[in-house]
């Protein structure tokens, strides 16, 4: 099972229209729409709802003034950090100042969404328009402020310094290096943009005093805690369920969204089921974006291209608020080093507020920016020295014998940045072979003879995956022989139901069909962190394996009594506990499950059968022995000391049209190492999807704000996500260096595909054009401008 391309168990329902996403639930529920700020920066003078009162089907209108104290205050800052000296979060509904277009101001509840939107259109908000701050460079140090009490708009400032082995600082090392370069890089805003937007549906049961919330979230357990806290309800009275989720890619790990607390609040207040389904326009202007950074790089290196010192100064655009802390720039600065041994490193970032949508992690979460920086640097060095780009990388790689390798920094989980395992030189060799690096010169020359321009590019990365603190798993075998697995983290299409079932099947010796998996449902599992940072397989996968091992041990113990054998002589095959080498002596796991529970009503055949095995229990001992529990179930947690580190190297061949400046990716090759593969088909799928998002980020997608803070392309018509016609064929090869850190030896795979793509494509376009490519994304129009500006 483990390691096989098992077909997905979620597919039959998703292929027949029987999936259940939030908006599929709550038929007849009241629906919510919001009046959102049309201005990037304004003070609310007055809100007049009188014209909306008569709208047919209107149920309620709420402004900030209607909110109870716990909802009237700013939402929590989820991940504080000492460097985030000026963290700011928004209120669920704006009180006095709005700081980006799309910020919610008024909430309307009506019989359906059409009517709610009608009412919204009639509500008049009187704004005093303030001058907005747009663009990180204009924001930094500006006297025009996003938040009155954040001087210079700087929310956070952090310097991390790793001296060389000899104790030299980066600046000194660069100063002393035989060669130095300095340049600037720009990465623009993009966004996760799942095809299903956010959504919340809340059901209040007045009889029971309980609340059930469905949210399209990547972390239902945390939403539950937030809702209980904000609504003042006892935690056990609140359940949050992430049903089928139509993609997340990071944006749905943010929580609680204003809507996630407002919709349940309205449901309780109105005593009705209330639902909000985000539409695409709302998703553009009121969820989250990511990526935008300006980077200033200085590097010193020797004649072989070995980096002796690297100094990077980053200006990070954080949008209007910092509810998710400064995780993104922290990851950029720590993961920037990739698979390389850098002599001395200094990184400094300033995270600045602007009057734009807030920034929270999007697949890759700061890594694509860091890799763009490092890999552009490697290409610059190669060009400066006139040596092959892969040779420069080769010269800097950490060698297989050097693991665990300590990069000397603190990672996003607050733990030391120590790489667990990998084989980077082999990975690079595999990649060169896969893409045909060494023979590309001939291909390029042949194309040139036909008037075509080809270029090849490469990019390498290391990705901290499976960050802690923990995940749990629960496994129960019921008397019908079925195995019920649950874990608290959520799924957004990664095939967790399949992968976790594979793990359970392997650990327990039970056929896959008998196993069912539930994720993201707090009724089943209350403790979890969430799905992000490529952590699901590592964290929940291992937790489920550990829980299965507990169940297995108990099953063997019980069966040993029945079969009069030593547990060490037993195995579980096909759902039966057998004595190894004695095929006749076996007992089904179903029977063991019945035996595990001393309740002996023969309510089903299995229970009736079990009575024949049930020996008389000792009269002077309790039926449930000390230290035992009834039932064949187990719960366990996995909590690693550190993250695992997956890695990969990508290469691409692009063609640029000499006349139209169109850029076409002809081939895309990936060598990937995420430790042991649980299901290679699913891992491939994750890589494909990541690469496609990467191609989007490199060539198509950008959030374009004008100087007034209006998002000019808040639609799929103008925010250009690639269709099938824009994505090249993707070739993959796998390397498996197991992680020594966890029982299953796995690392994570969820984000890998996207991380180096911008760097790879920049590298390839630069090779084709001979013009430095220092910004992403790159459109044909921009390439045309670069050509004209080139000497």
């Amino acid at each position: 099972m483990f390691g096989e391309p098992v077909r997905r168990r979620e597919d039959p329902r998703l292929l027949t229209g029987r999936g259940r996403y939030v908006d599929d639930l709550g038929a007849g529920a009241l629906e919510v729409a919001f009046v959102r700020s049309p201005h990037a920066h304004a003070r609310i003078r007055d809100i007049d709802v009188s014209a909306a009162i008569d709208v047919d089907g209107l149920v309620a209108i709420y402004t900030w003034e209607d909110l109870p104290a716990s909802l009237a205050e700013p939402l929590p800052l989820l991940i504080p950090h000492p460097a985030l000296t000026h963290g700011r979060t928004a209120r669920p509904l704006a009180r006095d100042v709005v700081r980006h277009v799309g910020e919610p101001v008024v909430m309307v509840v009506a019989r359906d969404r059409y009517l709610a939107e009608d009412a919204c259109a009639l509500i008049r908000v009187d704004y005093e328009v303030l001058r907005p701050v747009i663009g990180p460079e204009r924001a930094a140090g500006s006297r025009r402020l996003v938040h009155d009490d954040v001087p210079g708009n700087v929310g956070a400032h952090l310097v991390q310094e790793v001296p060389s082995a000899a104790g030299t600082g980066a600046r000194e090392a660069i100063g002393a290096a035989p060669h130095t370069l300095a340049f600037r890089l720009d990465i623009e805003r993009s966004a996760s943009m799942p095809l299903e937007g956010r959504g919340v549906c809340a059901r209040w049961d007045a009889d029971d005093g309980s609340l059930r919330v469905y949210s399209s979230t990547q972390t239902s357990t945390s939403v539950r805690m937030a809702v209980a806290a904000k609504l003042g309800l006892p935690l056990p009275k609140v359940e949050v369920i992430a049903p089928d989720v139509g993609g997340g890619f990071g944006v749905k790990v943010m929580h609680p969204w204003p809507e996630e607390v407002l919709v349940p609040w309205a449901a309780v207040r109105l005593g009705r089921e209330v639902k909000w389904t985000e539409d695409r326009r709302e998703h553009f202007v009121s969820s989250a974006h990511e990526r935008a950074q300006v980077q200033f790089v200085r590097v010193g290196f020797d004649g072989e291209g070995r980096v002796l010192g690297l100094e990077v100064t980053i200006l990070h655009d954080h949008g209007a608020y910092t509810p998710y802390g400064i995780i993104v720039p922290i990851i950029t600065s720590t993961q920037l080093l990739g698979p390389y041994k850098i002599g001395a490193y200094r990184v400094e970032f300033s995270s600045v507020y602007t009057n734009t949508v807030q920034v929270t992690p999007y697949r890759g979460a700061g890594r694509p920016q860091g890799v763009f920086c490092m890999e552009r640097t490697m290409d610059r060095i190669a060009r400066h020295l006139g040596i092959d780009r892969t040779a420069v990388r080769e010269a800097n790689l950490i060698q297989p014998g050097e693991f665990p390798y300590d990069q000397g920094m603190t990672f996003q989980d607050g733990r030391p940045l120590i790489y667990d395992s990998g084989d980077y030189p082999r990975s690079l060799r595999m990649l060169r072979e896969l893409i045909g690096w060494d023979s590309f010169g001939e291909l390029k020359a042949r194309a040139a003879a036909e008037g075509r321009r080809l270029g090849i590019g490469v990019g390498c990365y290391v990705e901290g995956t499976g960050v802690g603190p923990y995940e749990g798993g629960h496994v129960q075998v019921t008397s019908d022989g079925r195995v019920h697995v649950s874990t608290g983290l959520t799924s957004q299409g990664q095939g967790h139901e399949t992968v976790f079932a594979q793990i359970a099947a392997t650990e327990l010796g039970v056929p896959l069909e008998r196993i069912s998996v539930v994720t993201g449902d707090t009724r089943r599992f209350g403790y979890a962190v969430g799905t992000f940072a490529s952590r699901a397989a590592v964290m929940s996968g291992n937790a489920i394996a550990l829980a299965c091992r507990k169940v297995r041990e108990k099953a063997l113990r019980i069966a040993a009594g029945v079969l009069e054998a030593d547990p060490r002589d037993l195995e579980i095959v096909d759902g039966e506990v057998r004595v190894v080498g004695a095929p006749g002596a076996s007992v089904p796991l179903a029977t063991v499950a019945v035996l595990s529970n001393p309740l002996r009503y023969a309510f089903d055949e299995e229970a009736a059968r079990a009575t024949q095995f049930a020996g008389a229990s000792p009269p002077d001992a309790p039926p449930v022995a000390e230290g035992e529990e009834p039932g064949l179930e187990g719960r366990d947690y996995y909590s690693p000391i550190r993250s695992t580190f997956a890695s990969g190297m990508h290469a691409a061949i692009v063609e640029t049209d000499p006349l139209t400046a169109e850029i076409r990716v002809l081939r895309y090759a990936v060598v990937h190492d995420c430790g042991r593969l649980i299901n290679p088909m699913i891992v491939e799928g994750q890589i494909h999807g990541g690469v496609a998002q990467g191609v989007g980020g490199a060539l198509y997608e950008r959030m374009v704000y004008d100087e007034h803070g209006q998002l000019l392309n808040a639609s799929f018509m103008d925010f250009l996500m690639p269709y099938a016609t824009e994505i090249p064929p993707i070739e993959t090869a796998h390397l498996e260096t197991p992680s020594p850190l966890n029982p299953l030896g796995i690392k994570g795979a969820g984000e890998a595909g996207v991380i180096p793509v911008s760097a790879v494509i920049a590298s390839a376009v630069e090779d084709a054009e001979g013009i430095p490519i220092d910004r992403m994304p790159l459109s044909p129009s921009e390439l045309f401008d670069l050509r004209r500006a080139a000497p």
């Binding site: 939107e117 326009r281 139209t660 392309n713 016609t725 044909p780 045309f784 401008d785 004209r788």
Partner: protein, 289 residues
């Protein structure tokens, strides 16, 4: 993103439709394929008091091919026109252009006439109608008029159709002998509105030398405009005509705008590149046919 409320009309005959339009005036909007109107309604960028749905006027679905060209009724969908063999034989430029319009599912609903009335300067069909010197037939209660392309497009998203008028059909004239056409465009993604596009028509004389060479550019100004480059390419055989000079002339005579996807300079440059390609192809076709 839900449409605002409106009164819905579903006339069963053209006469009835015209009556309704006469009554609703400025407050009425014709609904054809809905592929431009409904997105605008969903975003509440339009809020007509009355929507007059012409989808039941099957009498307007006809596509007729005659010696004067191809006449498409107001309910002829892009896909229907694109797939028609007789249309392709009579006026191959229509199929070429339609394949560049959006995606198959959009083309299954969108209408050729709707696209003309919508008058988007980035759209392909207005350029085609202009290049071919076609016309749109407009009907109002008690009157019918044919408006030639040159006067039909009056501004970005503005046409000569008055609020009380229904565009009932459009005529795409057939090509004279020894003529050829081509359509080239560059879009950001396959199926997107073009960054720049060029429809070209070339006619040769009896000696197979270029007698007329014209182009219309997409996204090159507020309305599609015919650019005559006959004088620029020279009265020569297609193989020796100066298509480069023609392309330069196109570049000089258009007035594209910048937007978030492309600078004006790039659009101008592209129009030149595409004009040269389109003119060559059109000339080759003319010489072959």
């Amino acid at each position: 993103m839900k449409p605002p409320p409106f009164d819905y009309h579903s006339p069963r005959s053209v006469g009835e439709a015209l009556e309704i339009l006469a009554a609703t005036g400025r407050d009425g909007k014709v609904l054809a394929g809905g592929q431009s109107l409904i997105p605008m309604l969903n975003m509440r960028l339009a809020a007509p008091g009355h929507v007059v749905d012409i989808n039941r006027l099957t009498e307007l679905a006809a596509v007729t091919v005659g010696p004067d060209g191809v006449r498409t009724g107001a309910l002829a969908r892009h896909a229907q026109v694109e797939r028609s063999g007789p249309v392709a034989a009579a006026q191959p430029l229509l199929r070429r252009a339609l394949r560049l319009v959006a995606h198959p599912a959009i083309r299954n609903r969108g209408t050729v006439v709707g696209s003309l009335v919508h008058a988007d300067p980035a759209a392909e069909l207005p350029a085609v109608l202009t290049l071919l010197g076609g016309s749109v037939r407009l009907a109002r209660r008690g009157a019918v008029r044919d408006v030639p392309a040159a006067r039909f497009f009056t501004g970005p998203l503005e046409s000569a159709a008055e609020p009380d008028e229904l565009a009932v059909s459009a005529l795409f004239p057939a090509l004279p002998p020894r003529s050829g056409t081509a359509f080239h465009e560059v879009a950001r993604r396959h199926g997107d509105y073009a960054l720049a596009g060029v429809a070209a028509r070339v006619r040769l004389d009896d000696d197979l030398r270029v007698a007329a060479a014209e182009v219309v550019c997409v996204n090159a100004g507020p309305v599609p405009e015919l650019v005559d480059v006959t004088g620029d390419c020279g009265h020569r055989a297609p193989g020796t005509a100066d298509w480069g000079a023609a392309a330069r002339a196109v570049r000089d005579r258009i007035d594209p705008e910048a937007d978030i996807h492309a600078s004006a300079a790039y659009r101008r440059h592209l129009a030149g590149v595409l004009a040269e390609r389109a003119l060559r192809d059109a000339a080759t076709e003319a010489a072959g046919g």
